[in-house]
Symmetry: C2
Subunit: 331 residues, 2 copies
DNA sequence: GTGAAAGCGCTAACAC
DNA sequence: GTGTTAGCGCTTTCAC
């Protein structure tokens, strides 16, 4: 049978209160009493039941992370970084994978926020803020990660999307590109929208003609990029901007297979997943936008724990900046 | 304040038992009573508290997965696959990352098995079975994944390690290789040991000289492979076998950077992480051993849930086989 | 310096 | 067909 705190108390000849206080260092206990308690614990092999404890205290010491795509290296690395921070602070991490599906996200938010976790990290795939907002119990600690909503009522940790794309387009234009195509992620995501907006502004500012047939969207997951590229190549693009790491890998491979050389036949700029091996091979032949994934995860961990401690802290927004690694080739 | 089952009962004018049974479909409740209950639930916005429920029932509906390296695509994909199976069966997944550190593994097993999860999936980094075994509470559901111990007292889901390496060496020998080097993962892991054993046997069976200076070990994590390769190249190897996906990526990149062409200057065979983009580029120039990661995750999910339901089921061992994708080049 | 006991929210055995 | 109630294992207030 399961060993409980009363078993320990009985064997040690003290009350359950004393056992509890001994374990948790929560009030003075004389050295000899402590000793008896620890002996009893050891003898019985007692471990306090986490489940009873969280029920009693209301603290689960667990954070939920709702992720759109675990197997994506970008999120994989972020999960690692979050878990690292949390475990160092005595918290556990529950993962839920939505596969960019809003219904799955809804189910998971419901399940996790119903007493399973103390707080939620969400990289939301939802477009509709009201739908999202309605799911979150009042005062429930939430931090948005990588993606935000127009309405800024939740804390968020994001990466600057505008600046690197704007800069990329300007650089390409300065190098002489006339037809710059772009492949965005899922159109409904804030990150995609910001990136496309940056593209449009830069195109205008550089005096290039606006041409919506040069704007295409993938689905931010695997195998979504080929048809976009086919069209862009048909359109005689001399440069391509890719807005997401997974799609960037596929782009590199696809162009390679078609015998199109980066930096020679075509210029490529892309958000690139930190640490993906593929880029080590091609980083010299393209402009790479490297997102600070580890810092993202770290900041997300910090913020959610802070919010769990102070649920009514003011909304906090952090925007990290990506590193820009220009190609070393002169076209 | 928090809405509890008693609030609902009061508003609906029924007992808490009825509310509970209505929610859980656990005994007959008349249509009209059900109706009153649901109305009250809706009106109050009641959600049953998961934490109270698991405390009461003893079921957490949560599985823990102890992983050596989350950011490794091999485990990332496996996590996805496990989570997929579990969530379809109403379970949650808690992740713990050990970074191949036995002490971290120990801490995590302790924490998670103390009433936080119903069962544990472990890709253990431990060498010592007794140490591992001592951590697991009696009758606690555990399934080993990807790595086992000599002592087979836990269920396990693994991938055949011997056969593909043996075959690789034979193929290389048949192609005329005289000096076949090998880079293993962490020496203490069962997977590494099996692979190195296969290499040794095949070398012997093919009549090649045993030469321990051709056997090197990385650490199964990032940036561990260059020194191994330098030595092997110094030793004038004409073929190299790499035992792990992350190290394989690094090998490809390193050889590429040194201008050594796969399948021409040197033959390469490697365990390759399913789905890593890099291999799409090089799969024609090397022999690839592709592990069935998704099936691994699926089987792991199945087994742990089965064990949670029947904790005293007999030990179950499943060994999946890897796909072998030969190079399309003739050297 | 320590103990007694209430009670967290829920489920389920027992009663009618 | 539904209600009453004990109690899961722990923390914490109140009391001495």
């Amino acid at each position: 049978m399961k060993v409980t705190i009363s078993d320990v108390a009985r064997l040690a000849g003290v009350s359950t209160a004393t056992v509890s206080h001994t374990i948790n260092n929560t009030r003075y206990v004389s050295a000899e009493t402590k000793d008896k308690v620890y002996k009893a614990i050891a003898e019985l092999g007692y471990t306090p039941d986490a489940s009873a404890r969280s029920f009693r205290t209301g603290k689960k010491k667990t954070v939920g992370f709702i992720v759109p795509d675990i197997s994506n290296k970008f999120f994989g690395t972020m999960i690692e970084s979050v878990e690292n921070y949390l475990s160092a602070h005595g918290y556990h991490l529950i993962i839920a994978n939505t596969k960019e599906d809003a219904d799955r996200e809804e189910t998971n938010i419901r399940l996790l926020s119903a007493g399973l976790v103390d707080g939620l990290l969400v990289a939301s795939t939802m477009e509709d803020f009201d739908r999202f907002n309605a799911l979150i119990p009042t005062d429930f600690p939430v931090v948005l990660v990588d993606r935000t909503f127009e309405t800024k009522s939740y804390s968020s940790i994001c990466v600057s999307n505008f600046q690197p794309i704007y800069r990329s387009v300007c650089r390409l234009a300065a190098k002489g590109a006339k037809r710059i195509g772009i492949v965005g992620g899922l159109p409904r995501l804030s990150s995609t929208q910001e990136r496309i907006a940056a593209y449009r502004e830069a195109i205008a500012d550089c005096g290039l003609p606006q041409d919506d047939s040069l704007i295409h969207y993938g689905n931010s997951m695997e195998n979504s990029v080929q048809s976009c590229l086919d069209t862009l190549l048909d359109q005689k693009c001399d440069a391509i901007v890719v807005c997401q790491g997974l799609m960037a890998s596929e782009t590199i491979i696809y162009l390679h297979q078609k015998g199109i050389r980066l930096g020679e036949d075509i210029d490529l700029v892309s958000f690139v997943d930190y640490d993906t091996n593929l880029y080590q091979l091609y980083s010299g032949q393209m402009d790479c936008i490297v997102q600070p994934v580890e810092e993202l995860g770290l900041a997300a961990g910090e913020q959610i724990l802070r919010r769990i401690e102070k649920p009514d802290a003011p909304v906090f927004e952090k925007v990290l900046t990506s590193a820009y690694r220009p190609s070393i080739m002169a076209k």
